[in-house]
Amino acid sequence: MLRSNVEELLKQCTSRFVKSQIMPQARKWDENKQYPLENMKKFAELGLLGLRIPKKYGGSGRGLLDAVIVLEQIAKADASTAVNLHVQLNASPLFVMLYSGEEVKRKLLPALVSGKALFSMAQTEPEVGSNLTELRTLARVEGSYYVVNGTKTMITMGSIAHVHLVYLRFDDDNSIGCLLLEKETKGFSVGKSENFLGLRGLGSTELVFQDCRVPKENLLLKGPGSLRKMLTLFNGTRVGLASISLGIAGAAFEEALKYSKLRTISGKPLIAFQGLQWKLADMAITLEAMKHLVYSAAKDTKLNGFPDQFTSSAARIFSSEGAIKIANTALDIFGGYGYSKEFPMERYLREAKGMTFVGGTIDVLRNAIGSYLSKKNM
């Protein structure tokens, strides 16, 4: 039976949507530090938010690979939009799918599909970033509630999300875990908004919790083993982030290549100069290697549908660093124009740099590879 290849179809259709609906406005969103609210609305209308949600909750029940294909294309136009979508596709809702009770799933997952429940993932605190085990936000057990106190910072979609997935410490067993805190909860407020160098459309803010009473059914993970479960999910989120770096790099490279054929110096196009050919060659090689790492990680489902720690960490580290290199050289190829806000080259570089922090710094991720290697039997 003749059918289209679903991955190829998703790629082409996303690319066309992105070119007409996202690309033309990316510069405005960046300059105004504006969260592009309309994008999430359109994604909901087009059934994209349910990509990975099981069919029985109104989604399409697809895997990480499809998410990666879509995010790469979106990141080519606007990395902020891609990060916002990534949180919905690959992060918080997966915790709900895996660790919530049936009632909460029935309430939140269809609401996500229709865009009525958007999520954030709140981990970082003003004094604790890289080391999850030191989190200070505290949940006190009080009858059938958890009473939450603390502050989170730099939270993507902090000002937008309806449901915050909050990482915290539980006072009774001193374990690190997470729960869902809804926006309407008394005592919850959105704090100051971030003014980042790039990725300015994330709606990043502080979140403040003052005696927030969270019903027990909103608990996701608590007690021994919780941290390990969270880390497995992170293996998947890393690959999502890596695909965004891949998209940024792809866009920067394509622009630079096009420009190198159009711009002439002494009657010759830039690409006729060997010095520039070498730069373009190196960019093309790095991009190709990034693609292979990201897509092989996206196809790897060894750990219950999730890629393993090494594959996912390697993909993210290599592609976030690769994207910086490629965006930087691409900017150079545009000469002074590359440094001007008239062209997207400087934005790509700022976005590429930002991707080394979202979801944890890549240096900290190297620790994950280090621990993997030290345990590995040769």
Binding site: M1, R3, L9, C13, L46, G47
Partner: protein
């Protein structure tokens, strides 16, 4: 209301390049898309269905890769897609294309309205719609830029003319060919695109036998035209300097614009 939309898959470029040696289209490295006018045809069909109910069937004649045009149309919301695919269909001229599409429409049966794009960006003839209507022996309205009213019995449209537009009322069944001015096409839904790739997607493929046509009636053999030569026309600039007073040169200039139908 049963609506059929004709969907052609075309290379994604307004500037088709032709290999100077072979005279063939250079398709390498060019993505295939739904012919832009056909997007407007699909949108029109969906809007009518949303008002009146019924179903929209998309038909496309093309090679196996044209399945992507059908899948995307399902993503947009058509109810069913039919790919007309057979080695015998290859090399069809506009008549053989229209004939094949016509047989498919007959096989579908009981169709109230057929919507075609005005023109394909590659073949560019704008003949298929009118020929299909002739074959089916139903009324046709071309150059449609606005659909004012559609009911189960009739359709009222505005179609473009050189000087402005005509308003035409026509009983159904009928065929219209639509222009891009007609509407703003929607984007395909992701979940429906995914469904379109599943085994049980509402897609059928019909070959010559399914249509009950002989090899001599379709494709290259069934074509009435013979392509003797294909070439890229050379564009040359013609310069003309207007002389005289400002008043005279402006007048002359206006005359040239009018003569060339530029204003």
């Amino acid at each position: 209301m049963q609506i059929v939309v004709t969907i052609k898959q075309v290379p994604d470029t307004a500037e088709i390049r032709i290999d100077p040696k072979t005279g063939n289209l250079i398709r390498e490295g060019v993505e295939s898309i739904i012919n832009p006018d056909d997007r407007h045809a699909i949108e029109a069909a969906l809007q009518i269905r949303e008002k009146l109910g019924g179903s929209v069937t998309g038909i496309c004649m093309g090679p196996p890769q044209a399945i992507d045009a059908i899948s995307e149309a399902l993503g947009l919301g058509i109810d069913k897609g039919i790919l007309l695919m057979d080695n015998y269909f290859a090399g069809a001229d506009t008549w053989a294309t229209s004939f094949t599409l016509g047989r498919a429409v007959e096989k579908i049966g009981d169709c109230d309205l057929i919507i075609c794009g005005h023109q394909a960006i590659d073949g560019d003839t704008a003949q298929v719609g009118p020929q299909l209507a002739e074959y089916l022996n139903i009324p046709q309205i071309t150059y449609v830029k606005d659909i004012e009213e559609a009911t189960d019995k009739k359709i009222v449209v505005k179609c473009m003319t050189d000087k402005g537009y005509e308003r035409i009322e026509c009983p159904l069944p009928a065929l219209i060919t639509v222009m891009r001015q007609l509407n703003e096409p929607r984007f395909p839904r992701f979940d429906w695109l995914i469904n379109a790739c599943r085994e049980k997607a509402p897609i059928e493929t019909w070959n010559a036998a399914d249509l009950g046509v002989k090899a001599s009636q379709v494709g290259l053999q069934g074509s009435l035209t013979n392509v003797i030569n294909t070439f890229s026309p050379k564009f040359e600039r013609r310069g003309e300097i207007l002389e005289g007073t400002a008043e005279k040169t402006v007048k002359d200039f206006m005359k040239i614009l009018e003569e060339n139908k530029l204003i």
